[in-house]
Each structure stands twice: as structure tokens, then as C-alpha cells.
């Protein structure tokens, strides 16, 4: 197997009083889009900050592109990091601020200026090149921040809640750049609590809650192992017979109307073939009988459910 883009083994982080990240292990295959999912306060940002060596881990092993970021800092230059809370120098001009951050990543200034200009055009900020950052709208500032993350063409992009605060149009722009990076063989890791978005983009995910890993793996595996016993059932016409059938058969754990048909969740031990046979026997023609894939959202809710902390804890000092 190729060297993983990121490997975490038993990583943990304790802030005064509570455990933010608890014995977390995960593997990000290279060249994929990887989602770290979890409710607010689950430990997503703390994990990414430890990976970027912004905060020091209390235990465990981190291999970022094969190197320990705490010991071999140079590896961080090959990574593009978009923090959850964005920060730019407000008084600087857009292109200047982009060139400054690129220079810190080791780009030479002329090269950075040229590439920066291209990215500015690509993000539709052309007329703002020499405007001060503080004159830009919040969404535009986010785009500038994103450019500073990708300008040095890193092998690995780490994006902490990249779409929060973006309007749908700009979310689309961001999505395209992520997919483009993936096409060019880069690895993208991003955190989000938006399951729909993760479902559209990710090949692999890791769901964490309360600082602990709930599940991880490729999206396909995760879906398969969480398929459960949901069946979508539809008939040719609205049939009173079908209605009566479901009402009479309490064995079916749960039945809900869904569109023109029903969603049936089999009780444990019940056989789907038996259900199908009984439905066929009904006088009405059956038009659909399908084993339904659960959405990531449903899997998430099923696993995390009560672990969701609705309010963020006040952020402690990063000691």
C-alpha cells in the first residue's frame, strides 16, 4: 500500500479539564478526498491543529506525508491549511497578502505574484487585486484566504470547515477547486458538519463525536455496513389494500409514507423475501421494491445522535 497522506495513531489532546481528542486513529489514503465529520465541539479542529503543529498533542503518533510535523517542520510547507477562523492582514493589499503567505511557504516572490494574479482572476476577484483586504466583503476575504492556502500547490490540502460562511455560488466554486485538486492527484482533507456536502465530495470519511472516532472508512463501506433493513415500496396506484396490509402487519418494525409509497424498516429477524412474497400476493401491481442505501446524514444521526453538543464550549488556552 502507498504511504498514507496522513496517519493518526492513538492521538489525544487534553485541555484543562476535558479531553478534546481521545485516542484517535485514522488513515487518509493519498489522492483522495477525505471528510472528517462531527458535530460542533467534536474535536475536528483540535485534531487538524495538532496535525499542523499549531497545538502540541499530548500523546499518540502523527505521520503527515510520512513525517512527524512536530519534529520535521519542513513537511508543513507541502501542506495547505485553511483554518476554521480565517485571518488576513486587514490593511494589506489583496495581492500583497497572498504573496506574503506564499513566500512563507518557500515560493519566490515573482513566481508567487504571477500565480497569485491567476488565482485572483480565477476566483473572480480581478478588480480587487490592489484593494485593501478590509474593503472586501466577508465572502471575498474567504476566497483570498483560500488562495493563500492553495497558491504554493501543496500535495495535501487541509481545510477546516471550508464552506462555512460562503454563499451557494461560492460553495460551488470551492467544490470545483477541491475536485480539481483531486484530479491533479492531490489529497484533500476537510472537516465539516454538513453531511450532504461530505456525501457529494468525499471518498472516505471519519465520523467523530466527543473526541472519539465513531466510524471510518470509504464512503461505500460505511454505507454498506450501515445499510440496515430499509425498503422502499411503491404500487401502481394508491391502494387501500396496501394500506390495510401494512396496518395489519405489526411485524414490520416501522412504516412511514414516503412520496407515493412507503418506507419499510424490517424488524430484526424479519426476512425481506417474505415481505416481498406477501406484497406480490396483494391484488395491486407492485412497481417498486428496493433495498434503500442510508444517507450519510442518517448514518451520522444514528451513530452520533445524543452525543451532539449543541453549544460550543468556550475555547481554552491551547496549552
Amino acid at each position: 500500500m502507498m504511504q498514507p497522506a496522513l496517519l493518526l495513531e492513538g492521538v489525544s489532546k487534553r485541555y484543562s479539564g476535558h479531553l478534546a481528542v481521545d485516542d484517535l486513529s485514522l488513515t487518509v489514503p493519498p489522492g483522495t478526498i477525505y471528510g472528517i465529520l462531527g458535530p460542533n465541539g467534536a474535536g475536528k479542529s483540535s485534531t487538524l491543529r495538532m496535525v499542523m503543529n499549531i497545538i502540541v498533542r499530548d500523546g499518540g503518533r502523527i505521520a503527515l506525508l510520512g513525517a512527524d510535523p512536530a519534529r520535521e517542520r519542513e513537511v508543513l510547507r507541502r501542506v495547505g491549511y485553511l483554518p476554521e477562523e480565517r485571518g488576513l492582514y486587514k490593511k494589506m493589499k489583496v495581492l500583497d497578502v497572498i504573496v506574503f503567505f506564499a513566500a512563507l511557504k518557500g515560493l519566490d516572490e515573482r513566481q508567487a505574484r504571477r500565480a497569485g494574479q491567476q488565482w485572483i482572476e480565477r476566483m473572480g476577484l480581478g478588480e480587487w487585486t490592489n484593494a485593501k483586504v478590509e474593503t472586501l466583503s466577508k465572502g471575498m476575504q474567504q476566497k483570498v484566504q483560500f488562495i493563500t492556502t492553495v497558491l504554493h500547490d501543496p500535495e495535501l490540502l487541509i481545510l477546516d470547515e471550508p464552506t462555512s460562511g460562503l454563499d451557494p455560488v461560492n460553495q460551488e466554486v470551492l467544490r470545483d477547486t477541491i475536485l480539481d485538486a483531486r484530479r491533479r492527484g492531490k489529497t484533500v482533507i476537510f472537516s465539516t458538519h454538513n453531511m450532504e456536502q461530505a456525501e457529494q465530495l468525499c471518498e472516505s470519511v471519519c465520523i467523530i463525536a466527543g473526541g472519539r472516532k465513531v466510524l471510518d472508512g470509504s464512503l461505500r463501506e460505511v454505507r454498506r455496513s450501515n445499510r440496515g433493513a430499509h425498503y422502499a415500496v411503491e404500487f401502481d396506484e394508491q391502494a387501500a389494500a396496501a394500506e390495510a396490509f401494512f396496518r395489519a402487519n405489526g411485524r414490520f418494525h416501522q412504516v412511514t409514507r414516503q412520496g407515493d409509497g412507503w418506507l419499510v424498516e424490517l424488524a430484526p429477524g424479519a426476512d425481506a423475501r417474505e415481505l416481498l412474497a406477501r406484497l406480490v400476493e396483494l391484488e395491486v401491481p407492485l412497481t417498486r421494491f428496493e433495498h434503500v442505501q442510508p444517507s450519510l446524514h442518517e448514518i451520522f444521526v444514528a451513530h452520533v445522535g445524543g452525543a451532539t453538543t449543541p453549544h460550543r464550549r468556550p475555547e481554552p488556552a491551547h496549552v
Binding site: L88, K105, V319
Partner: protein, 426 residues
């Protein structure tokens, strides 16, 4: 090294490019010149003071007083050019006091002088006025009254007329400073002016640019820029680059001012003639290339030490308001030598001056002051510089630790206990 340089460049260019830098560089010397020339210009206009004179003294005493007071001495300073209009009032002070007080209150006169009948024996003269705080006026009245009473005493002892005038003529003091190389001429006030200027300038620069470093740290912290930067470079490099970059701006500004001053010195003859400055004004200030070099050393080291403290402060707090309450403690040792300017320039080799000159937090202001007005033993200068370097290393080490943790933390302002924890953690 290169990442430090990138930060230095940004901090330097972003500041130098601003209008406020240009404005400050040009405005500050003008402000300085303005402050020092206002009294000069205003002083040129002499004022007339109206005084009432109650004369109960033996004949001749009050006449002599009026004569001395109304004659402007040749070569007098600006504040000695005031003229006095004396109005004699007949009667005794005891009877006149109420009406005189009322006239002073209604601003008809500025005040009154009363010579009692026994002035020669009691040796006391009354002066009452709305304002008795003007030292120039007090001196003039004191001189005139003393001269009048003394003349009367000499007259009683048998001396008369021209003989008397010749005997009581005052002297003019010629000041000369003796240094290791011999005698130099010069103005007695020049060292004091020099000490003030050096102290004020160093204080201003260290404070202004120290606060500038602090604001910059605070900006990176509150805008969460620090997080992005720290994921690309070492926090200590960021801190170093920032302090050097801002220091570069300060040096550039000082350099520009130095050019102004050099230009002014080469034109000193012209200036002296034009503005009535004694041409030997600066010869009594002790400056040579070695001293100049040490001055730059004290300024640079002092700035670095304070900038590191200010940076740590910026990292420890969350808002400028919080920072301001802490600033006071930091600025205190800077102000101390300023308050002691008189003592230091009067006794540059005395105990207070020596201690302030060696103590690392005050030496960058006190030592340049001393060095300008006297020849400080080279050993002391070297010792002070060495102490400053050691302090700088210690302060930078501490500040770096507080900075590393502080720039990434938000929320409550840390307590001293928490700061201790930061020091251990970083």
C-alpha cells in the same frame, strides 16, 4: 533565516509605505523645534507690568529701587526685557492695603511693592500680586530691592555717588567645562537641553515603536492570522522578524532625523546669526564618534528589550484596553530617568546617575544623557551595555515563551498563575 527576512520585509514595508510614517518623520522635528522656539518667539515680546509702590522708607531707597527696576540691563535675556511702570502711592501700607488689594483684583494694576520704614534694619520688602510664580519677575524685584537697600547701607557707611556704582557692579559668569582633553568653552545650558532632547527622543521612540510591535502582535492574535503563520513558521522567528522589522523603521526614522541635524550643524553659523543662538551652544556637549556609537548601541538594545516585553504583553492580552492597563508598569522604568533629568545632568557622575545608567531597564535613556554631559568611565559604559545584552537575552527568552502560547489562545486574560503554566508548557 529566510522566513525571518520575509516577516522583516513585510513589517518594514507596510509601515514605511504609510502616510503616517511620512507625516511623523517630518512632523516630529517640526514639533520639537516648535516647542523649543515658542517661548523664544513669545519671549521676544516684552510685557509691561504695572506696580504700585508704597514708600515708607528713608528718602532715596525707593528712588534707587525704581531706577534699577526700570533700567533694562544690556544683553539681558528675553524674560528680563519686561518693563515696569511704577505708580507711587502716598500713605502707609496699613491704610492702603484694602484699596490696593481691590485695585489688583480689578486688574487695574498687577501688584504692589511696599518698603516699610525700617527696611534697612528689618531687611524685608513686601511684594503682593495676582501672580507671584514668575521667577523672572521675582528676581528682578528682589535684585532691585536688594540693590536699593544695600546702596542705602553703603551710603550710611560713608560711600557716595560714582564710587558706589563702581563698587556695587555685578559680575557676568563665564562658564567653561573641563574635560580630559582640557578646557572647552560653551553654554552652560546646552548639556541640560541635550539631556532633555536625548531622553525625550529615546523615550518616544522606544515607547512608540514598542507599542507598535504590541499592536501588531495583537492584530495577528485577534484576527487569527497567527494560526496560519505558525502553521508555516516558528513563532520565535515570527517574533524576531517582527521586532527587527519595526526596529528597522525606527532606525530609518532616526537616520532621517540625523541627516536633518547634520545639515543643521553644518549651517550652524548661519542659523546662529539668523535665530540669535550662541554659536558655541553645542561645544559643551560631549560628543565624539565613540560616544555616538555607544548611543546607537543603547538605543538599539533598549528598543529590542522593550519591544520583546511589549510583544509578550500583546500576546498575553486580548484587547488594547487590557494592554493599556499593563503598559503603565512597563513604561514606569522608562519614565524614571526622565523625571531625574535634572539630577542626572547636574551630577552625571553621582550615585543616582550611576545607578540609573547601569540598571538595564533605565540605562538606555540614562546613560546617553550622562555621556553627553560628562565623561563617563568607559568601564561603566561597557558594563551597562553588557548588562543590557544579558537582560535582553533573558527577556527575549521569556517573551518568546509567553508569545508562543499567547498568540494562539483566546478567552480570558491570563492570570499570573496561568502565565507561569504557559512558561512551563512552551
Amino acid at each position: 533565516m529566510s522566513e525571518i527576512w520575509i516577516v522583516v520585509k513585510r513589517e518594514f514595508l507596510e509601515r514605511v509605505r504609510t502616510k503616517s510614517f511620512l507625516f511623523g518623520t517630518l512632523f516630529f522635528p517640526l514639533f520639537f523645534i516648535g516647542i523649543y522656539s515658542i517661548p523664544f518667539l513669545v519671549g521676544q515680546e516684552s510685557r509691561e507690568r504695572r506696580l504700585a509702590l508704597v514708600d515708607e522708607a528713608p528718602p532715596g531707597v525707593a528712588d534707587r529701587f525704581v531706577e534699577v527696576l526700570t533700567t533694562v540691563p544690556p544683553g539681558a535675556d528675553a524674560d528680563e526685557r519686561d518693563t515696569y511702570r511704577i505708580e507711587r502711592v502716598e500713605g502707609r501700607l496699613a491704610d492702603l492695603r484694602a484699596s490696593l488689594t481691590q485695585r489688583v483684583q480689578s486688574e487695574e494694576i498687577d501688584g504692589y511693592v511696599a518698603f516699610p520704614a525700617d527696611v534697612v534694619e528689618s531687611n524685608s520688602v513686601v511684594f503682593a500680586a495676582r501672580n507671584v510664580g514668575n521667577i523672572g519677575v521675582l528676581e528682578r524685584i528682589d535684585d532691585a530691592a536688594t540693590s536699593a537697600v544695600r546702596t542705602e547701607r553703603l551710603r550710611r557707611a560713608g560711600l557716595e555717588g560714582a564710587q558706589l556704582a563702581a563698587l556695587t557692579r555685578g559680575v557676568q559668569l563665564q562658564t567653561t567645562r573641563i574635560t580630559a582633553t582640557g578646557e572647552t568653552g560653551g553654554n552652560a545650558f546646552a548639556p541640560l537641553i541635550y539631556a532633555y532632547v536625548v531622553a525625550l527622543l529615546t523615550y518616544f521612540l522606544v515607547f512608540f515603536y514598542g507599542v507598535s510591535v504590541m499592536r501588531s502582535v495583537l492584530e495577528e492574535k485577534s484576527n487569527r492570522i497567527a494560526e496560519v503563520i505558525v502553521s508555516s513558521m516558528r513563532a520565535s522567528h515570527l517574533l524576531t522578524g517582527k521586532i527587527i522589522g519595526v526596529g528597522g523603521v525606527a532606525l530609518l526614522q532616526v537616520g532621517i532625523w540625523a541627516l536633518f541635524i547634520i545639515a543643521a550643524i553644518t549651517q550652524l553659523d548661519v542659523l546662529a546669526e539668523r535665530f540669535d543662538i550662541p554659536p558655541d551652544l553645542f561645544t559643551s556637549v560631549h560628543l565624539n564618534p565613540g560616544v555616538g556609537l555607544a548611543l546607537v548601541g543603547f538605543f538599539v538594545l533598549g528598543y529590542l528589550a522593550y519591544a520583546a516585553i511589549f510583544a509578550a504583553m500583546g500576546a498575553a492580552v486580548n484587547t488594547e484596553q487590557e494592554a493599556q492597563s499593563l503598559q503603565m508598569f512597563v513604561v514606569l522604568p522608562l519614565i524614571l530617568p526622565m523625571l531625574m533629568t535634572m539630577q542626572i545632568s547636574n551630577e552625571p557622575l553621582g550615585r543616582i546617575a550611576t545607578v540609573l545608567g547601569l540598571f538595564p531597564l533605565t540605562s538606555s535613556i540614562a546613560m546617553p544623557m550622562r555621556m553627553g554631559v560628562a565623561e563617563v568611565p568607559p568601564l561603566q559604559i561597557v558594563a551597562a551595555l553588557l548588562l543590557l545584552v544579558l537582560t535582553l537575552v533573558g527577556v527575549a527568552w521569556l517573551a518568546g515563551k509567553i508569545y508562543r502560547v499567547g498568540i494562539l489562545s483566546t478567552g480570558q486574560k491570563p492570570t499570573l498563575k496561568e502565565l507561569g503554566r504557559w512558561l512551563r508548557a512552551a
